[in-house]
Assembly symmetry: C2
């Protein structure tokens, strides 16, 4: 009655099945039956139990339950940064695929983690399988037997993974650009000074095979700003440029912005292509021509692998632990 001493209703710790049983004057088993809607219980008893449960704010412990019904249920998804539009599209697809099978998804972002190995082992302890852009170097081996699926997996990987096959689509894009009269394309690549990214190298190789040697401008950061800055550099260093192939859609949006600022017509004067197929590419003007990854396909394959591994139906590694997905050329307005 006094507002002061209401704390008596707040026990130090959560109510357990025993508390409810005691409160309702029945056995734990009867509580179980009531809570889980099982048959063979007197409606009056059931009602009494449920009332007691509600009054005590009883909520079954997922640990106690998980111990007895050890069905795997939780997937870990590790991404760089949800703020980069690529990852939410992937995450959404993964969550959707997982939901179909009744699995939950814990999403972890590397960007918020001090130590990546620590992040990995932390979420590893909470899940039944792990998905993500997981560098081999980041403690993948310390995960014991945990099923692991790597996006963007290289052929020699130690865990399962998805191989992203963009070569044919890239060839389509190169042909498309040449068809439209491009003769002086530039590659805007993301890579430390040194070797090109795989996709960048592919573009260069395909152009070379057609008798064109595209200059390359490299940026380090994966962001629209980096794309904008890189394009600025291209305008200065390569005046005759008639196409810019950006390392991804986000960077391509930066490119569009730079070109607009410079009063350059896209696609009239310079054509622009991106990579990933984000819906972001439809938000901008002109809409982005891009190499679109089948994100749904990636998610379906990855979740399928992970769940198969967790169920013991698919080995943790080796050829059976791999899938391929492909890109396709999507021509929109920027080329």
């Amino acid at each position: 009655m006094t507002a002061r001493s209401k704390s008596a209703a707040t026990p130090a710790h959560r109510a357990t099945i025993n508390d409810v049983a005691a409160a309702a004057g029945v056995s734990r088993q009867t509580v179980t039956r009531a809570m889980n809607g099982m048959p063979g219980i007197n409606p009056a008893t059931k009602d009494r139990v449920l009332t007691a449960a509600k009054r005590l704010r009883y909520r079954p412990s997922r640990f106690g339950r998980g111990l007895v019904k050890p069905e795997p249920h939780t997937l870990g998804l590790v991404v760089d940064d949800l703020t980069n539009p690529y990852y939410p599209e992937l995450a959404s697809a993964v969550i959707g695929e997982a939901a179909k099978q009744g699995w939950n998804v814990i999403v972890a972002e590397k960007i918020h983690a001090g130590d990546r190995e620590e992040l990995l082992s932390e979420v590893a302890g909470q899940v039944d399988a792990l998905l993500g852009y997981l560098n081999d170097s980041e403690g993948l081996d310390q995960l014991g037997d945990l099923p692991c699926v790597q996006f963007d997996s290289e052929p020699g990987a130690t865990v399962g993974g998805i191989e992203q096959d963009f070569e044919p689509a890239m060839a389509d894009l190169v042909d498309h650009l040449l068809d439209r009269g491009v003769r002086h394309p530039v590659l805007l690549d993301i890579s430390p000074p040194g070797p090109l990214s795989r996709r960048g190298q592919c573009f260069v190789d395909l152009m070379r095979a057609r008798g064109i040697e595209p200059p390359v401008t490299q940026v380090i950061e994966n962001s629209m700003a980096a794309g904008a800055a890189g394009s600025q550099a291209i305008l200065q260093d390569h005046p005759g440029t008639d196409a810019i192939m950006a390392f991804n859609d986000v960077a391509a949006c930066g490119t569009l912005k730079t070109l607009r600022r410079a009063g350059i017509d896209v696609p009239g004067q310079i054509k622009v292509a991106g990579f990933d197929g984000l819906s972001l590419g439809t938000y901008v003007s002109p809409q982005l021509t891009t190499l679109a990854l089948d994100v749904q396909g990636v998610a379906a394959a990855a979740v399928g692998l992970a769940l198969g591994m967790a169920a013991g139906e698919i080995p943790r590694s080796g050829p059976r632990a791999r899938r391929r997905v492909s890109y396709r050329l999507v021509v929109r307005e920027s080329s």
Copy 2:
């Protein structure tokens, strides 16, 4: 040791601490000590245990562990759809805040759920607190004592929540528009035929207070396409329009697209304002003037509330279970 009987090493079920103990010829307790790096164990023994554990691919059960060390650890975040750029920004902030406190986040999307009540109770069973855009109607009451924090909470809500205070910023925006000479603004609102959204109503009220009666165009879907279509309608229905206030940034991007297609100069001919402050608004041209929510602040407040509730330091509801965060006007290029 014989490679022959390898399959014997693959028990039907996961290795437990007992298996490791037996294999290493020690007690379970010693296994625990070895696995958790606890003191008081002979290095040689420890080594033997760890070797056995690795060989058996032993991974401690989170259920067994959670039963003994019942520290809350997992947060549930319910959003509509990560494909809508608003939610990933929020999710990223929430995950970051949670990570600071050592919590994991299960992300669930309503869009992937058949039944929303089912979704809610499903993730509720896996977490220690729940965050999200949770309509009161969707079974919030069936969650027992689970700590719940509602984004976009109305004053009378039954659970804890964040109140988003945009009135002052909206007033700033209205004044800003009028300063720039706007006389015929139109509201592009998201709402079923009938009452306006809260933010829409606020815009109208503020304009009215300044002697202007803005027409309203309503759309139902929360998407760029809806924003584009709604703006198309505005162009037809209200020829003299000199400003469009969109219900959010995504819709405002649709508006920009429509206006560009129509050859209308922004902001010269029509000014455009959005709502949310997404980074998306900096991807487009012209960059979007918007009312920016302090997403970090929202996330920090929401996670703080949820963890406080889970720890029993904050009541599940009432004034102490509420926080306010505010918007601010960000003037960019579109106005």
